[in-house]
């Protein structure tokens, strides 16, 4: 029951970016630039209002996909989900860049039964059994979102960063663990593997509790899907883009909602 509730709430969260942006989903690693052969990071994952204070819901770790520098998928250790946040540890023995991703691919349905509004989230093949036969005003949306962060031991590498060509994805032009204040960083946004042009991208530094404004920076992707930010201060930036289209793979769904989020650490000079 609780699980279902969390899922429904998460679902609302994932749909929100298109409307008023209230809740933010994120992963924050304890370090992104790492030296030493016996290196580990510990990671928090949650949905919250403020960055990065868990105050709403924990992230669902069944969506977690970690890719090592050699391209293999690796497992987290000590994974746990609490009231407000999930947490896990990750050994980073390989030199290069690891990609940590919460991949959410599913469907979301709004419907009415006996005049009562209901909503459901799950996998596409569960759709038929999940929605009662007497449901009215059934509206199905397909969702594809990724929430990512990156950690690098030694020299940054690209082996873990290959796009899956599903939904919105980030391709680094500037290495995601090589960001410094005052320097321009450029990335490319892909939609189903093709450059995603003219999509709004925002960036907000963490520690929002200790200032009065969000201090959101925004930009848009160019015709090649590229966008850039020049980081004014050091910190953990929450970078987010969202979009929607009608290219659904589930026939009941008329609309597809897309989201991409990355937590990127910017170090001082």
């Amino acid at each position: 029951m609780k699980h279902a509730f969390v899922r429904a709430a998460l679902c609302a969260v994932l749909l929100l970016p298109l409307a008023a942006q209230a809740h933010k989903m994120w992963m924050v690693p304890s370090a992104t630039v790492i030296s030493g052969d016996d290196a580990w990071v510990t990671v928090d994952a949650a949905v919250s209002n403020d960055l990065y204070y868990p105050d709403h819901f924990p992230a669902q770790l069944d969506q977690l996909v970690i890719t090592a520098p050699d391209g293999t998928t690796v497992k987290p250790e000590n994974a746990a989900t609490g009231k407000y946040r999930s947490t896990f540890d990750l050994a980073v023995p390989q030199k290069g860049t690891y990609r940590l991703a919460l991949v959410n691919q599913g469907v979301f349905a709004n419907y009415e039964v006996d005049g009562q509004k209901k909503r459901w989230r799950g996998k596409a093949d569960e759709l038929k059994t999940a929605i009662p036969a007497n449901a009215k005003n059934v509206q199905v949306s397909e969702m594809a979102s990724r929430v990512e962060t990156f950690v690098t031991q030694g020299t940054p590498s690209d082996g873990a960063l290959k796009p899956t060509n599903k939904g919105l994805e980030l391709v680094p032009v500037t290495k995601p663990n090589d960001l410094m204040t005052g320097e321009k960083a450029t990335f490319q946004l892909l939609l189903d593997g093709k450059p995603a042009a003219n999509i709004k991208v925002i960036a907000i530094n963490g520690a929002t509790r200790y200032r009065n404004a969000q201090d959101e920076m925004d930009t848009s992707t160019d015709k090649d899907g590229k966008f850039s930010f020049t980081w004014p201060t050091a910190g953990m930036y929450w970078v987010n883009a969202s979009s929607e289209d009608d290219k659904t793979s589930v026939k009941e769904a008329k609309q597809r909602r897309l989201g991409y989020t990355a937590t990127l650490e910017v170090l001082p000079q």
Binding site: V33, I34, S35, G36, D38, G154, T155, M180, P268
Partner: protein, 170 residues
């Protein structure tokens, strides 16, 4: 005696070219803090495009068990980004143990490792220090290589580094 003069002059003319060197003094300040750890220090020569022409010294805790000492190398974050992350520690002829507070003299000779042969041009000597539960600081001294005349340059650190002097001999 008269015969010696041309010989000495001759030596004087030939020696400097062969012995161009770079003498460096790095001061680690004595700090009155409750918990003191010797700083990690990196010294390197940077080209104008910030690429590293030579790593001259890396002082870190080599004795810690299980490679714990390498865990903090990234705290020298400029060095880590420019060069450290591409290295395998220890670096032969470059890395060594941490050093106590005081003046440390280092001498590097043109054509010999770790300085090697620098192409003529404009460079920066960079000294970066990072201290466990302390601060981090980098100082830079710009210089032209090779020096036409003996040149004395210096920089003064404010927190984690003291006086830094660079003497170049043609």
């Amino acid at each position: 005696m008269r015969r010696l003069v041309p010989l000495v002059l001759c030596l004087a003319a030939t020696l400097p070219a062969a012995a161009a060197d770079l003498n460096l003094t790095v001061e680690i300040p004595a700090l009155k803090v409750a918990e003191y750890h010797r700083p990690y220090v990196a010294v390197w020569v940077e080209r104008e495009d910030h690429s590293v022409a030579a790593n001259l010294a890396v002082w870190y805790d080599m004795k810690k068990a299980d490679g714990e000492g390498t865990k903090w190398l990234k705290d020298m974050r400029q060095w880590w980004r420019r060069s450290g992350r591409d290295q395998t520690m220890p670096i032969d002829g470059v890395s060594g143990a941490t050093r106590p507070a005081g003046q440390h003299q280092l001498r590097f000779t043109d054509g010999k490792p770790p300085l090697g042969t620098l192409a003529p041009g404009h460079y920066e000597l960079v000294v970066e220090a990072a201290r466990e539960v302390g601060g981090r600081e980098a100082q830079r001294i710009a210089f032209d290589w090779p020096a036409k005349t003996p040149t004395h340059l210096s920089a003064k650190g404010s927190d984690e580094l003291g006086q830094i002097t660079l003497d170049l001999n043609p």
